[in-house]
């Protein structure tokens, strides 16, 4: 009834759908950065949407299961193997008792998700098992040798051969609604948001994508009293390098939010690798 982490990779965390509803106390939402991918993995193995799985970063992870379980790998496409034999992503896989599951280096995107039938049963904090890299709530990132308890196996897995998932775009285009402080952006900045491709900085993490090149000019230099932050908020610090907030974003911040990425496009941002490029398509709020 447990899972052993044989290799945790550069960053593998336990994630579920996070802790919405506590932001007024300064608690980030957290949860899977690419939530639809975790939901899909859970559905494939017959788990409820709220079950916790593993979120890998770029290079994957290797897990050993004490008893036989259904597993599924989704999110960033990566080579998958069960007991050393190549297996498919996006479909329920049976791992025998004592068997290993390896998720290799992503061939595109950044974060792969592993759901295990029964879910990962670490203790909840404020209703969630998610690791929050900003506040430190939830379990620590996984380390080699960690043993995680699993919940009781659910019924049979989803009766599908392969879940259809659109390929991740090399240069995603994110719908961007005007933010509450869009008027802090100079005219040239609005033009760049419509036309430029932004490079994702290596400083990016689960808290946010830091974008560099080009710099967005502001038309105001004064201090902004702290304002609430939402998932997908595009914040513009004084240096003009925007930050696109992801799952572990702070609940309030002191820089103007000049735009907000459509919630359905945030998972694309969460899959953007450092060094890759992305674009925005300004839209009116729906």
């Amino acid at each position: 009834m447990s899972l052993t982490v044989l290799w945790a990779g550069p960053l593998t965390t336990v994630q579920d759908l996070g802790r919405p509803g506590w932001a007024h106390l300064g608690v980030p939402r957290s949860g899977a950065a690419d939530a639809p991918s975790l939901r899909l993995a859970n559905r494939l193995v017959g788990n409820p949407d709220t079950a916790a799985g593993c979120e890998t970063t770029l290079l994957g992870c290797t897990l050993r299961l004490a008893d036989a379980r259904w597993v599924a790998v989704t999110g960033a496409p990566a080579p998958v193997s069960v007991g050393g034999a190549a297996a498919a992503a996006g479909t329920p896989l049976r791992v025998p008792a004592g068997g290993t599951l390896t998720v290799g280096a992503a061939t595109g995107g950044l974060r792969s998700y592993v759901a295990v039938g029964g879910g990962i049963d670490v203790p909840r904090t404020l209703g969630s098992r998610a690791t929050d890299r900003l506040s430190g709530l939830g379990p620590a990132p996984l380390a080699d040798g960690d043993v995680l308890q699993l919940g009781p196996p659910p019924g049979p897995p989803a009766p599908v051969d392969l879940a259809p998932v659109p390929a991740l775009p090399a240069e995603p285009v994110l719908r961007l609604a005007p933010g509450p402080r869009a008027d802090w952006l100079a005219g040239r900045g609005h033009e760049l948001l419509r036309t430029a491709a932004f490079t994702v900085s290596p400083d990016s993490d689960r808290i946010g994508l830091r974008l560099q090149d080009p710099v967005l000019p502001r038309c105001r230099d004064d201090e902004l009293p702290s304002e609430p932050i939402v998932l997908g908020a595009l914040q513009l610090p004084a240096d003009g390098r925007p930050v696109l907030f992801l799952a572990d974003h702070p609940t309030t911040g002191g820089y103007p939010v000049v735009g907000v990425v459509h919630p359905a496009d945030v998972p694309l941002a969460a899959q953007a690798r450092p060094g890759s490029r992305l674009r925005f398509r300004p839209v009116r709020p729906s």
Binding site: L25, L126, S226, P228, P250
Partner: protein, 187 residues
């Protein structure tokens, strides 16, 4: 600030009364309040109409939380120098004021407290400390507050408390929530 606090208190009341369907987060900040819906297709409540009757000061005062403080912080002398007061007077005025949690942020359970006397409003430190101990009581700009856990921080530190500001296993987890009244008591 008072308007944002009053609007938040009223929105919390309206949500409890079932009049804000679909709202998943209500988050106050310094001048604004976030009303977040669960999905983009949820209809936006008519906030202007709901808040039309609101008058600042309409919020119900809550009993103040008393926080015992040892006023021996590393920046006490610096704050005294910046304000032109002696350290005893800085402590007396900080402990004499009545505060209210305007909003939370920075870390779970970190409340930005308003009500800091104007003469105690000093800039944050020129460069932040890499580690501020849990329970440190600081001031910066118009706010005072208590660090719930050890973290980096740039506020000027006046003292320290043993009060537990945040415990995720406690109900409620945060000692200080938006709207809570606070008094600091020299210990």
């Amino acid at each position: 600030m008072a308007e944002a606090r009053a609007a938040y208190a009223e929105l919390v009341r309206l949500r409890a009364a079932g009049r804000l369907p679909g709202v998943v987060e209500l988050v106050p900040a310094a001048r604004t309040v976030l009303v977040e819906l669960g999905t983009v297709s949820d209809p936006l409540p008519d906030l202007a109409a709901l808040l039309a009757e609101l008058a600042p000061g309409a919020e119900q005062p809550r009993p103040a939380v008393q926080i015992p403080v040892r006023y021996d912080g590393p920046d006490l002398a610096e704050v005294a120098a910046l304000t032109g007061l002696d350290t005893g007077e800085v402590v007396r005025r900080h402990a004499a004021a009545a505060y209210t949690v305007a909003f939370c942020g920075f870390a779970p359970g970190f409340g930005y407290l308003t009500g800091l006397p104007a003469e105690l409003q000093v800039p944050r430190r020129p460069s932040p400390r890499t580690a501020v101990p849990a329970g440190s009581v600081g001031v910066a700009g118009e706010f005072t507050g208590v660090y719930p856990r050890r973290s980096p921080g740039g506020w000027q530190l006046l003292g320290r408390t043993d009060a537990v500001l945040w415990d995720a296993d406690r109900d409620p987890p945060a000692l200080l929530a938006p709207g809570t009244g606070v008094r600091f008591v020299p210990a």
